[in-house]
């Protein structure tokens, strides 16, 4: 700032001099994204969580490599009658069952109380003592659990991420249309959201999943077979749309009243340009946060639907169906249910932690919340 006294001596030369003297680290204008990156960069917990998630995705993506080169089997291959060498000793993959002690998981000899009749007992975890075969044991059909876990993870992640992507795209479109046009269009879209709030999420998922699971979807020229992963993906994305769409619509509605929209209108921008190049960039950070958190949510929902039989259909593995399969053998072979559950918890936890970090960075005043 030039002082009053020196105002008269201020010439073009002094101006250039002053410009040269300006310190090298001037304050540059920063975009909100670079500010957010600056905040996120020091959040090591969030990065660790992101790393964990990427590691899980990579492991599941490499399922077929593990299956062919380490375990030497496929996700649905049956090994009931085979034997496998554990530490050099042959052991059958699935042994005959009998009375099993509920507490120890061993065969009962005389004491009948606290024992339970089990039809067959698969091999337990071999922990690489069998040359990479049956690392986490087998299920009662003699299928390698570690292989199924990776393939199941792949399916769970495909359904989780795919449904989130579809859900977020649809929700953003609806929110932009409702928020921009207002009036009766807004009325219809919000009533549509409200209507789906009336159904418990899981029940609506079950209703759609079980209605479609038996013979698939054959309408409007679209044919989806009953065992397809598209069914759980579409069902879950459909069910979650209101939960993302409603808060986004609120944001769009308040942005709609801002001056920059008025300016865009004055410049002669049409609805399409206002929606996608004025409004959308302003809700982009919320959309990103929602996307991360809704993936976590949808992976759990997929697991729940598959567990109940209304999601991914057997024999296709997914973390939910694996838990459902393992439930019956929990006493003798707890790893069958433990392993997929731990996989879900780690995946969902990593996404939740990263999503929180992302929210702290992009939206420090926490406007975005997923409710349910």
């Amino acid at each position: 700032m030039a002082q009053h006294g020196s105002e008269t001596e201020f010439t073009l030369d002094t101006a250039t001099e002053l410009a040269v003297e300006e310190p090298a680290n001037t304050i540059r204008g920063r975009s909100p994204w670079s500010l957010a990156w600056h905040r996120l960069r020091h959040n090591y917990v969030a990065f660790a969580a992101l790393g964990l998630f990427i590691a899980i995705v990579a492991a599941c993506a490499l399922a077929s490599v593990y299956a062919t080169h380490v375990a030497g089997t496929g996700p649905n291959a049956n090994h009931v009658l085979e034997t496998v060498k554990v530490n050099g000793k042959p052991q059958s993959v699935v042994s005959a069952g009998g009375l099993i002690n509920k507490h120890t998981g061993k065969l009962c000899s005389t004491d009948v109380s606290g024992c339970e009749l089990v039809s067959s007992i698969p091999i337990g975890p071999t922990w690489f003592n069998a040359g990479g075969k049956f690392v986490l044991g087998a299920d009662s059909n003699g299928r390698d659990i570690a292989v199924r876990l990776l393939y199941g993870g792949r399916n769970s992640l495909i359904v989780g991420i795919g449904s989130s992507a579809i859900c977020v795209v649809v929700a953003v479109l609806l929110a932009l249309i409702a928020g921009y046009f207002g009036g009766w269009i807004d009325f219809i879209i919000t009533r549509f959201f409200d209507l789906f709030y009336a159904f418990p999420v899981i029940l609506l998922g079950i209703a759609l999943g079980s209605a479609l699971a038996i013979s698939g979807f054959h309408h409007f020229g679209i044919t989806i077979e009953s065992g397809s992963l598209w069914i759980p993906t579409l069902v879950i994305s459909y069910v979650e749309v209101p939960y993302v769409g409603r808060p986004l619509r609120g944001q769009v509605l308040s942005l709609r009243e801002k001056e920059f929209i008025e300016a865009a209108v004055a410049q002669g921008a049409g609805p399409f340009r206002i929606m996608f190049s004025e409004l959308l960039p302003n809700v982009a950070s919320s959309v990103l946060i929602f996307f991360t958190l809704i993936i976590a949510n949808n992976i759990v929902l997929e697991a729940a639907l598959s567990f109940l039989g209304a999601g991914v259909q057997p024999p296709t593995p997914s973390w939910g169906t694996l838990i459902s399969d393992g439930q019956d053998l929990i006493v003798t072979r707890p790893w069958l249910a433990l392993a997929p559950g731990i996989a879900i918890v780690l995946t969902v936890l990593s996404l939740n932690v990263f999503g929180d970090g992302l929210r702290d960075a992009l939206d420090p005043r926490a406007k975005v919340k997923i409710e349910h």
């Binding site: 409200d194 159904f199 079950i206 079980s210 209605a211 936890l349």
Partner: protein, 320 residues
Amino acid sequence: MVAFLVRRLFGAVLVCVAVTFIVFLIFIVVPGGGANGTAERIAGKNATPQNVINIEKQWGFDKPFYVQYWRLVDKMFTNKLVSYTSQQKVLTQIWEGMPATFSLSIGAGIIFLFFGILVGVISAVTAGRLSDRVITVLALIGISMPVFWLGIIARYYLAEGGLTTFFPDGEYVSLSSNPTAWFSHLVLPWLVLAVLFIGFYGRVLRGNILDTINEDYVRTARAKGLSPRRILIKHVLRTSLIPVVTLFGLDFAQVVGGGAILTETVFDLHGVGEYAAQSINNFDLPPIIGVTMYGAFFIVIFSVIVDLFYAYLDPRIRPT
């Protein structure tokens, strides 16, 4: 207030009608006719061709869609919806499952509201310290666990028949026949169902309290020299609890309306949810139709009650 009541009730009736339409769309229109069509699905997996033809006639699948819709609604409200697999009336079965579902939901609701608030307050009061961090981590793990998996593991490690014998193993004992057994059989399911919500409410409340603490009126209260406890209870908690109470109303309705389905299934509680879950395994559609519709009705009615309760508590919400 009367006008508000009438309008709210009218809206609720409209939503209920819309719900019946959606159920009709999901179960009757989407599967369509022909081989493996709606009639065959409703008949269940062990149906004979004659059964299918009978159902087609009864449900009016050879008639226009409004007749089909009307028959469905008629069946729903006159207890004529029958499971063709078990030959039992759906409404009667749902009615019989109610005590277990309500016992589970109400107990879990009390637990998660109480502990959610407790956890949120402790975490906000000690924000940044060790206890806050431990609670934050535990809450995150809590909301990341699938409830059915937690249930299976808890049942295996804690309930009789598994590794230890702290709790009896699953099943529902009615309150009237044996109150102590009712309680002991429900403790584990209550806790399992509550874990997710405790984590969630704790996080929401912590955020709300930390926002409210910076408000001017809290500073004024502090400047007046009020004790921290009084400020927390009288000034901060009052405001920050409002969103939590709103959430509680919605969540509780969701849990009763079918959200408890997983917990009921895992612990074998013979509630409405388990009835629906078993029907899925048998490809038995009428019970799922019934549970979906009644679950949604319950939520709609419950949300009206919650709204009226709010309007009574807070005059600002009362519109004219």
